[in-house]
Structures are given as C-alpha cells and as structure tokens.
Amino acid sequence: MADHAATHAVHDPNIGTTGLDHRKMGMWAFLGSDCMFFGSLIGTYLAYKGKSISGPSPRDVFDIPLTSYSAALLLASSLTMVLALAALQDDRVKVAARWLLATAAMGLHFVLNQVYEFWTFVHHHDLTLSTSLFGSSFFVLTGFHGAHVTGGVVWLLLLVGLAWGGRLDKRDHTKVEIAGLYWHFVDIVWIAIFTVIYLIP
C-alpha cells in the first residue's frame, strides 16, 4: 500500500489520496470564493439601484439588443469550450486548438462589445465612473466581469499556444478542463449580471 502510494505519487503528484486532482479542487475553491466576490459587487449594485441623484438612468443608456448578442456569444462559447475538451480527450489536438481558439475569439468579441458599450455610455450619454452611483456601480461590476473574461481569453490563448507548439495533448486534458471550469463560471456570472442589471427594470 505504502509502496504503491509512493510510486503513484511519482507518476502524478497532482492526484491526492481521495483520487481527485488537486488543481481541479483548488479551482473549485477559487470559484466558491469568486462567488462571494461577485456577490458583494452585485449586492453593492442592488443597494444603489435607483439611488442616483443625477445623470442618465439605466433605461436611457442600455442597448438591450447589443448586450443580448454579447450574452449569446458568451453562452455559445461555453459550448465550444466543451467541444475543445472533448476533442483533447480524444487526442485530436488540432481540433481542440481550433475550438479553444473559437472560444477565445467569442470571449474577445464579448470584451470588444463591452468596450464599445462603455465608449457609447461615456461619449453619447455622459455616463462615467463619477457621474452617479449608477455609473460607479455599473462600470465597476461589469468592468470586473469583463476583466475576468479578458483573463480567460489570455488563458485560452496561452493554451492554444501550447497546443500549436506541440506541448498540449491528451495527457493535459485536466489543464483544459480547469480552464473550462473558470470559463463556464464567468459565463454563469454573466447570466446573473445580465439579468440583474439589464433585464430587471
């Protein structure tokens, strides 16, 4: 038993005595913590909803069709993420890299949409960080979500780089799976933010 455990550890130091992967468990712990992070930001937004004393109101500035398109992009990117993982598990590295790239591209499109949205708010609606409580809480909440997506895009692109460099194959599926966990989480958080900020009047 002890011998077996020792040799096992040499083969993969990432697997613990429960048989689970340390890194995957660590990512779940991080996501639990990140729930509290976004929970606090969303709570702040809700606490200040309707409390602004100047500046444009949410109804005046939101472009719901554009944001819905962004939301659809992000939701669809979860599918390509799953396809990337499935392809890698089948050892189809090139296909996996393509799906990872597609995921990153949709994430990047989402972020660019957000940049455009912020730009129109600032230049067409005079809504900035310091205009009102709405401006402050809106930009900080959605901005931190956008930062999470951007971080995810960089992560996915680095994985694509590893794949193109011949350094990613079937044995690394856990690494892609963990990136996927993060990606799906960011996606789910967007569903909450989209609903709370844009859809609930």
Binding site: M25, L133, L162, R167
Partner: protein, 621 residues
C-alpha cells in the same frame, strides 16, 4: 528524477555558503521552511505592533500627557490593530498551518508547494508596503476598520490611507491563495485511513478557518476595491453628497470582519485541543462535539456581522436578529469550554509550559466571551460601544485567547520544529509574567470603559477619575513586554544550550511525534496508515482498552526513501510576488509602473504556470 535528491542516503553533503543558505530560503517550497518564515516574520511584526501599543500606554499613563501628538496617536492605534491582526496573529496561525498540517495528516508537503511560497512572499510584500508608509511619513491613521467616509480623498488627502488600503489588499490575496491551498491539502492529502473524523482537531479547526478565509476575504476585497476606485478614479461609492452610503463600507467590512474574528481564534482553539489531551494524557473529551462546535461557530460567524453596528441605528428587527444570532454563537463556544474542562477532569495532568498557556487561554477566553455576550445585547452595547470596555473585551479574546493559544502551540511544537526543548523554568516565568501583566493591563479597562473613557482618545483630563487605572494598565503593559523579553531570552538560551528533544518529548498522541525532530525534508519515510484520531498513542499503548501495542512496522529501506518524490525548488514564487508588489505599489507612484509591473506579472504567472509543463515532445515531469 535524473539527479539524486539531496536528502537521499549517499548524496554528497555540500558545505553551504552564506549566500547559498540565503538563496535556499528564497527559493524554498518546503512547507516547514515556509512555516518558519511565516512564524519569524509574524513575530517581528508582533514586536513592532507591541511597541506601538507600549507607546500608546506610555502616553495614557497620566493625564494631559504629551509624549505623542494626537495625529501620532491615531497612527499608532491604526498600525497597532492592523499589524496585530493581519501581520502578527494571522501569519502566526499560518506558520502552524504550514508547519503542522502536513505533519498532522501524514503528508509530505502541501497540495501546491509553489503557491505556498507565493502566499508567503505576497504576505511579506504586503507587510512591507504597509510599513513603508513610515518612510514616506504617510502612516495610516483611519483605525483598523477604516470607516468610510473618513477614508475618502476629501478627509484623508495624503497617501496614508492608500498605503493601508493597498497593503490590506495584498495581504488579502496572500490569505486567499493560502486558503485554497490548505483546503485542498486537508481534503486531498490525508494519509490513507485518515477519515475526516479521524483528523486531529487542530486540523479540523484550521479547515474551518480556511473556509472562512476564502469566503470572507472577497467581501473586504470588494470594499477595498470600491475605496480604491473612490480615491483614484473618482467613483462615488462612499460619497454621501452623491447619494452614496458610508454604511455600505461598514456592512462589507464587517461581513468580512466578523468571520475574521473566528479566523483569528479557531486556530488557537485547535492548538488548545491538541495540547490538553497530551498533558492530561486523555483523549479530547467529546472530540466530535468540539469539531461540530467549530463548524457551527464558522457557520454562524457569517450571520452576526451587524452586531458591530448596533449604534448606527438599523432598527429593532435587524438589531434583534443580529443580537439573537450573536448570543446563539456563544452556545457552541461554551460547549467547547466544557469539553476542554472535561478533558482535564480525571486526567493525569503534567504541568508543562504548553499546558499553562492552554489553561490561560481557557480562563482568559471565557472572560472575553462573557463580556462579548454582554454587548450582544443592543441596549448594553450602546452603553459600551466605543469605550475602553470594548477594548478590554477584544483584548481578552484576541490576546487572552489567540495569543495565549498560539504561544501554547509555540512551546508545544518548538521541540518538533527545532529539535530542542524550550527551557521550562523560563517558560513558566514567561507565562506568569504574561498572565499577570495581561490582566493588570486589560482588566481595569473594563472599569475605565464603564465609567466613560472612550477608546482612541490620545489624552484625558486629570479630574475624570481615570488617572489611577490608566497608570495601572500601563504598568501591566510593560509587564507583558518583560514577559516577551523572557521568551526571547528563552529562545536564545535554547538555541545555544537547549536540551535535545528527541522525536516524542511530550509522549504525544498524533502523527507528528512519530518522526524525528526536526523532521526530515520528506517528513514521513513511509506514508502512515491511520486508524484513529490519536493514532500514535494507540500505536504506543494499544488499540482499545486492553490492547497491546501495535506490532512495529518493518524498517524503512533505502529504496523506499529513494523513491520519494519531493517538489523541486522554484524562484518563480518570489519573482512573481515582487512583480505584483511593483505593479500594485505603482498606483502610488505612476501608471507606467502599474502597466509595466502588470505585464511582467502576467509573464511571470505564465512562467510559473508552465514551469513543470513538459517541453514539446517530452514526457510528463
């Protein structure tokens, strides 16, 4: 594994050079070394914060004193509180998490050794950034809980609050990274046979603490981000003129701040739960109940934050709810105290220094708990809040509780960590000086508070009736300081001529006493199989009531030791921590520094992530 590791039999012992030793500590990923780094840094910060406390007591020793100005006094209590909580008690607990958790669960390291090193270096950079404020004469002065909107640019235009805010943010990152690491370590690295209910109670309390850390710190992270945006980028979160509500800060801060209280006390409770059974030579009385109580405390800890805010006027419903929840939390705490007393009851007690400190913990923490129940009641709290009564209360739980518990652990595990026994006589002197000094310092503060002395005043008039007890309190504070000089003397004496401890000096009950002191780098030559919470005790004295000792296992072979995999050292943790510190401190200097620091941080994160990723066509490391 091409080159033989240094710990293997037959490996060449190189004579280490001075710089070689320094470098080996900078790039270490060994949980024991990181534990020592945490412990020694924390002790230095503890001394700094203690000196700040002494200066405050000198200033208050007599009325109308002018040793320090009002401004300096504000800086002193802010830095004293912030340093004690984030840079002394938390990292002292982290030192025990690092050093002891792998030993107690029969593991060879933590789940993420490099992340562990990264946590330490980020912690150190946060502490240094906070203390760099002294060099720039911009010492934080907004109190440890930095209430909005005193911290706004309007009322605190200098960089003082920036140092505090950024320092705390960095320390939070460090704590959360360590939290993820220890959660995974405790769940995933337990030796075969160690079910959750067979985990030593210190590990259990640490486990609950990690949950609190990873779930509570995001709230202060957000509170500090909002403050940072208010101060640097002109948002209005804490600006009443724009409709902003300063109470938002108070809620976010205390949603973190109350679980933080349990983050500070639960590890000490865990230590006491290890020390008492060892020195009473009995199993912990009702150990499962102690564990459940710890979980209850952690759970309820998230539902009581507003009892710090009774005086803001939240209305009767909120007051009643938070008051009841707060009183409820006294139940599991009280249960634990009875469990500890039950452990001592009928035991064959050996009075050694660790036991003295644990007994001190029980007595002092009970007193702090009782005054805590007093201000769980809103009407009573309105009388006591912002007075010295509250100062007395939280020093009874944090000093009388956490610090006594942590020093109990220090005396208990010192022989395991260094291989030498701390001197018993000096240890006893340390205990009694600290016990007497502590009570002389803080007990009169209950009375001072009740007769109306507010906290955080830098001086007072002579005709208020506060003079005598303030002088007594100051004398007590210097007695406490003397006790720590005795401790330092004890450490020096022990290092020079301490008695060699051997693997099991206390006739211990848990796995750490089954291996040499100090432990070899791989901890366990053979991963143990665990059958009970007090596994070593049962190995020595038999399973069940009349069993014989378990048969000795076969000796460990050189081949077994050669097969041990230990994570290699890495310089990326310290480089990454430096890059992050450069990026974050750039907010005080120049945006270019933030951008360059950010790009370097990203690069180093990538290097950190792929350090052991195989090259193209290679095999897994």
């Amino acid at each position: 594994m091409a080159t033989p590791a240094a710990f293997m039999p037959g490996a060449k012992a190189e004579v280490p050079t001075f710089w070689g030793v320094i470098a080996s500590w900078l790039i270490t990923v060994d949980h024991k070394r990181i534990g020592i780094l945490y412990g020694s840094s924390a002790f230095i910060f503890f001394l700094i914060a203690g000196i700040e406390g002494l200066i405050m007591r000198l200033q208050l020793a007599r009325p109308d004193n002018n040793i320090v100005s009002a401004q300096t006094f504000n800086e002193l209590f802010t830095m004293h509180g912030t340093t004690m909580i984030f840079l002394a008690i938390m990292p002292m607990s982290a030192a025990f998490f690092n050093y002891m958790i792998p030993l107690l669960i029969g593991a060879r390291d933590v789940a993420f050794p490099r992340l562990n090193a990264l946590s330490y270096w980020i912690f150190l950079s946060g502490g240094l950034l906070l203390h760099a404020s002294f060099l720039f004469n911009a010492v934080p002065d907004g109190g440890w809980f930095g209430y909005a909107n005193l911290t706004s640019s309007q009322f605190s235009p200098s960089h003082s609050i920036d140092f505090w805010m950024l320092g705390l943010q960095i320390l939070g990152i460090s704590s959360m990274l360590a939290g993820f690491n220890f959660l995974v370590t405790i769940i995933n690295m337990r030796a075969p046979g160690m079910t959750l209910m067979r985990m030593p109670v210190f590990v259990w309390m640490s486990f609950v603490t990690q949950f609190l850390i990873v779930l509570a710190f995001p709230a202060i992270t957000v509170a500090l981000i909002l403050l940072m945006f208010d101060r640097f980028f002109g948002t209005l979160f804490y600006a009443p003129a724009a409709g902003g509500d300063p109470l938002l800060w108070q809620h976010l801060f205390w949603i973190f701040g109350h679980p933080e209280v349990y983050i500070l006390i639960l590890p000490a409770m865990g230590i006491v739960s290890e020390v008492l059974p060892t020195f009473a030579r009995k199993p912990l009385f009702g150990a499962p109940v102690v564990i459940y109580s710890g979980i209850m405390i952690g759970f309820f800890g998230f539902g009581v934050w507003s009892h710090h805010m009774f005086s803001v006027g939240m209305g009767p419903v909120a007051d009643a709810a938070f008051s009841i929840a707060t009183m409820l939390i006294a139940v599991p705490t009280g249960v634990k105290i009875f469990n500890w007393l039950g452990t001592l009851w009928g035991g064959s007690i050996r009075f050694r220094t660790p036991l003295y400190f644990s007994l001190g913990f029980i007595a002092m923490f009970t007193m702090g708990g009782l005054s805590g129940i007093m201000h769980a009641s809103p009407p009573v709290d309105l009388q006591q809040t912002d007075t010295y009564f509250v100062v007395a209360h939280f020093h009874y739980v944090l000093f009388g509780g956490s610090v006594f518990g942590l020093f109990s652990g220090a005396y208990y595990w010192w022989p395991k960590i260094t291989g030498k026994m701390l001197d018993e006589r000096l240890g006893t002197v340390h205990f009694w000086l600290m016990m007497i000094g502590f009570n002389v310092t803080f007990f009169p503060q209950h009375y001072l508070g009740l007769i109306g002395m507010p906290r955080r005043i830098y001086t007072y008039a002579g005709d208020l009736g506060w003079t005598f007890w303030n002088l007594v309190s100051t004398i007590g504070a210097f007695t406490v300081a003397l006790s720590f000089l005795v401790f330092i003397g004890n450490v020096i004496k022990t290092a020079r001529s301490g008695q060699v401890a051997g693997p099991d000096p206390w006739d211990g009950r848990t796995l750490e006493w089954s291996i040499p002191s100090p432990p070899p780098v791989y901890n366990f030559a053979r991963v143990p199989e665990v059958r009970d919470r007090d596994d070593l005790w049962l190995q020595k004295y038999g399973d069940g009531h009349e069993g014989a000792p378990r048969p000795k296992p076969a000796p460990v072979t050189a081949a077994e030791i050669a097969a041990i995999y230990m994570p290699p050292t890495s310089f990326w943790p310290i480089l990454l921590a430096i890059a992050m510190a450069v990026m974050i401190s750039g907010l005080l200097i120049s945006m270019y520094q933030v951008i360059v620091g950010g790009l370097v941080t990203l690069l180093f994160m990538y290097k950190f992530a792929v350090e052991y990723h195989r090259p193209a066509g290679g095999n897994r490391h």
